[in-house]
């Protein structure tokens, strides 16, 4: 009986691993094709056409900030310096206990204003509204903290006056032309495009001066470099490919653009959501599919948002456990979308993929590895096959990681230094062993925390966007 079970488990793991990697391989091929087409398209498109147009739709940038005293000046200055003709920046001070509001006050000469603030989507109480004398495009909302970024964004959503809102993290840094670039699909098809996601890349190790990125460098720590590869794979392959089929379910909360009326129509962000960005996009899909509307949610790989990644195992583990909790927290309420006709490809492909290859991945992979080891010990598995299977899985997955680096090389080429590329490629060989197994443990912890009802959010240790020079 046990032998039969072990045999079955080993075959399951084998085909699970094979199919997961084949899906990614297919995604890599799609991504290479679409990004090549995108590059060609961009060559005959000049961003100045948008800045010179009197009809460019206004955008409101929503930047929630919670205890961001270290980086708030630099990051908001960075937002105000973005190239876009019609811009409004709303910073939401989400009950910060540090000097965040004071820093904003000192830097941007805030003065209190009385405004009509209609609470179209729910959010915690507002303590005050401030307009900047230094830059009239800046509005600061000081609010009570409800313990979630979603609630802070909702407050900003209520005050936004533009047809599009762009949600950014106030500890991230956008490239100067990123708003122009993220608007390209909207301007091409304003009736159908309701949401656009940009790419998030890792800032650690790069040179920053006065809120601007001077030189992109690879981080020094191994744990950070592996995250660079992970992000490249997730964005340049995963999201690029899913967006081609209009099945992209995640637009990162650090940089995403949405139609304001639609976000308000679905009640804004769900305040209690753990993965509020994923939850919002899933609800947008649901809302539009149920209404039978023709729409597109797109990904654009060249508007870049640089963000600081965790630089120690403890913080990274906490972040990944929270992401996995967020995944389950969104998949569960949307389980009724699975394989039901109104939800089309989203219900038939994208959501099942997330259930099987993302949510259950830690259980299946860790259990699978355990059964392989037991089978090998009990002599039910030839040692030769065991080693071959491991090498195959490892080599195949490495193809995908190197493919992600290739995608970056073919298209966006942010790492100009030879050393950086060599290191990036070298680390592709470590991503699938031992990092992947460690990652699975963190994700399993996330599942366990969710099932225990532990929804607490512990802030990550950040260094801030100070001026830094690369090693």
């Amino acid at each position: 009986m046990i032998h039969h079970f072990l045999n079955l488990a080993n075959y399951t793991l084998f085909f699970y691993y094979l199919s997961g990697n084949l899906v990614y391989l297919l995604a890599l091929i799609i991504a290479l094709k679409t990004s090549a087409a995108h590059q060609r398209g961009i060559e005959s498109f000049r961003l100045r056409w948008i800045t010179e147009s009197p009809l460019a739709p206004p955008i409101t940038l929503l930047a929630p900030a919670h205890n961001e005293e270290k980086s708030i000046r630099v990051s908001i200055r960075n937002l105000l310096e973005l190239d876009y003709p019609e811009l409004e920046v709303i910073v939401i001070n989400d009950g910060s206990k540090d000097r965040t509001l004071q820093e904003l006050h000192d830097e941007f000469k805030l003065r209190p204003v009385r405004m009509v603030y209609v609470q179209e989507v729910p959010s915690a109480g507002i303590r005050g509204l401030y307009r900047s004398d230094a830059d009239p495009r800046l509005l600061v909302i000081d609010k009570e903290s409800a313990g979630s970024k979603a609630d802070a964004v909702n407050a900003g959503l209520n005050a936004a006056t533009s047809p599009y809102v762009c949600i950014v993290d106030s500890d991230s840094m956008l490239e100067r032309d990123s708003l122009l670039r993220i608007m390209v699909p909207v301007l091409a098809d304003p009736k159908r495009v309701v949401g656009v996601g940009g790419i998030i890349r890792i800032l650690n190790g790069s040179e920053i001066q006065g809120g601007q990125l001077i030189r992109v460098r690879l981080p020094r720590k191994s744990i950070e470099v592996i995250q660079v590869i992970e992000y490249l794979r997730a964005f340049l392959i995963g999201r690029e490919a899913w967006a081609q089929g209009n099945m992209m379910l995640i637009i990162s909360g650090a940089f995403g653009l949405f139609r304001t009326d639609l976000v308000r129509a679905i009640g804004g962000y769900r305040a209690k959501a753990i993965g509020e960005d994923f939850d919002l996009v899933a609800r947008l899909h649901r809302h539009l599919l149920e209404k039978g509307q023709e729409y597109r949610i797109q990904f654009v790989p060249d508007p870049v948002c640089w963000t600081e990644a965790p630089s120690d195992l403890k913080s990274l583990g906490r972040q990944r456990a929270r992401w996995h909790k967020g995944l389950l927290d969104t998949l569960l309420p949307n389980a009724d979308m699975l394989f039901r006709s109104p939800y089309g490809r989203v219900g038939a492909l994208a959501l099942p993929y997330l259930w099987v290859y993302e949510l259950f991945a830690p259980i299946i992979e860790l259990l699978g590895i355990a059964t392989i080891i037991i089978a090998a010990i009990l002599g039910d598995l030839s040692r030769e096959f065991f080693i071959q299977f491991m090498i195959f899985g490892y080599a195949f997955a490495t193809v995908i990681s190197i493919g992600a680096v290739l995608q970056e090389e073919l298209t966006y080429k942010r790492y100009s230094d030879w050393q950086d590329v060599a290191r990036l490629v070298t680390y592709c060989f470590f991503e699938h062993f031992p990092y992947r197994q460690l990652h699975m443990v963190w994700r399993l912890q996330g599942l366990w925390q969710y099932l225990r009802g532990d929804m607490s959010w512990k802030p990550l240790e950040r260094k801030g966007l100070h001026t830094t020079t690369a090693p």
């Binding site: 060559e43 009509v116 603030y117 209609v118 080599a395 190197i402």
Partner: protein
């Protein structure tokens, strides 16, 4: 020879996995080799290009004047691309006299002719690149080739042609676009189309009128939006006709156009539009009235301050606050409306413009008939931010956030 099925049948799982390992490792090696080769090639290419750009920059005047014969570089695609890029970049930033010199160079060197040929004969991204370059030259002889590309079956090529024509910025280019629209309808994204038409019809907005009258509803809306941006005083009568149109988008565009053209009777027509049944027409009219900075607009803006739509109220308040010289009398009229939402909108606009203290001082110093009765009430309302007696409710339910 064994069939594929037989080979698969003979493969043991172990052999299959072994072959898969070989395949995966080979793929890893190939990817790595590709990355390395590409990096080396690009490094070499850009080094060579930079050196050549530097050399050509040293000889720039001789190149432009024809002192260096065009034949020496025109047939070398590497040099030609560099020189064309340099010339077009310089052309975009050049003053009038420099532009003429550069355009002459682009013509006599045959670069424009070559781009016209490529725009007609090539396909795909090469054609798109040629179309964009042709647009950047702003040479009228490029119009026929760009116009032909508007009829391409590839939407990207149509977009590139549209943008190219837009760069030309001439009424002739606008005629071509309008003719094509009349012929094939709307089959390009609206925003690039509007941008191109705005650029091209600014000089002669009248060319839009016949199409505006005869086109279908969707195209009329697009053209009206363009007219809203480029309208001039000479179009006064046509704009009044547009303000009576059955399509709300056209009435809204008429409002925008009236604020740009500013014919003598603009305030009255916009006043009418500010009472339209459709909210966005009212909004556009109120924004347009505000831009006129005309005291005659005050009654219309005060009326709009009591509108049922929050955005209309906000814009009306901003328009009123922009009339800085009349702040006291405007504020007195706002208070007399007894509309607390209108008052909130006005105070918000006042604070956004940082004029609250100025209004306070002006109320204290104001001297006009009846001011003594009003003065105290105005000061109380201004400092408390609310009316002195209970008033009727209006539709929206805003939450007032008190300033600290």
């Amino acid at each position: 020879m064994a069939s594929g099925f037989e080979i698969l049948h003979r493969l043991e799982p172990s052999a299959f996995v072994f072959k898969a390992i070989i395949g995966a490792i080979a793929a890893d090696v190939l990817l790595l080799a590709f990355i390395l080769l590409r990096r080396s090639y690009r490094m070499h290419y850009f080094r060579k290009r930079d050196a050549r750009v530097f050399e050509l920059r040293q000889q720039w005047d001789a190149l432009i004047s024809g002192e260096i014969p065009f034949e020496t570089w025109r047939t070398k695609s590497f040099d030609r691309r560099i020189i064309e890029d340099m010339a077009l970049d310089a052309f975009e930033a050049a003053a009038a006299d420099q532009s003429a010199r550069l355009l002459k160079f682009l013509r006599t060197s045959g670069l424009i002719e070559k781009r016209i040929f490529e725009a007609r004969k090539l396909k795909g991204w090469r054609r798109r690149t040629a179309l964009v370059a042709l647009g950047r030259t702003r040479a009228p002889e490029g119009i026929p080739a760009l116009s032909e590309a508007l009829r391409d079956h590839d939407p990207e090529a149509r977009n590139a042609a549209l943008r190219g024509l837009g760069r030309l910025g001439s009424p002739e280019a606008a005629e071509e676009i309008l003719h094509w629209l009349a012929e094939s309808g709307l089959n390009v994204p609206i925003l690039p189309l509007q941008n191109a038409l705005i650029n091209c019809s600014r000089e002669r907005p009248q060319i839009l009128l016949p199409y505006l009258q005869l086109a279908g509803p969707q195209l009329r809306e697009v053209l009206a939006r363009v007219l809203g941006e480029v309208a001039s005083t000479s179009l006064g009568a046509e704009l009044i006709g547009m303000a009576d149109d059955e399509l709300p988008e056209l009435r809204a565009a008429a409002a925008r156009a009236l604020s740009n053209a500013q014919p003598g009777h603009a305030v009255e027509v916009l006043g009418e539009l500010s009472r339209d049944v459709v909210w966005f027409v009212r909004l556009r009219a109120v924004v347009a009235i505000g831009k006129l900075y005309d005291k005659k607009a005050i009654p219309h803006l005060i009326k709009s301050l009591t509108d049922s739509n929050r955005l209309v109220r906000m814009r009306a308040a901003e328009g009123l606050v922009d009339l800085k010289s009349e702040l006291v009398s405007i504020f007195a009229q706002v208070v007399k409306t007894h509309d607390r939402y209108g008052l909130h909108a006005f105070l918000a606009a006042l604070e956004n413009a940082d004029l609250r203290n100025r209004l306070d001082a002006e109320i204290r110093q104001a001297a006009y008939s009846g001011i003594e009765e009003d003065r105290e009430e105005l000061l109380v309302v201004l400092s408390a931010g609310k009316l002195t007696e209970p008033q009727t409710a209006t539709p929206a339910q805003p939450i007032e956030t008190a300033a600290q």
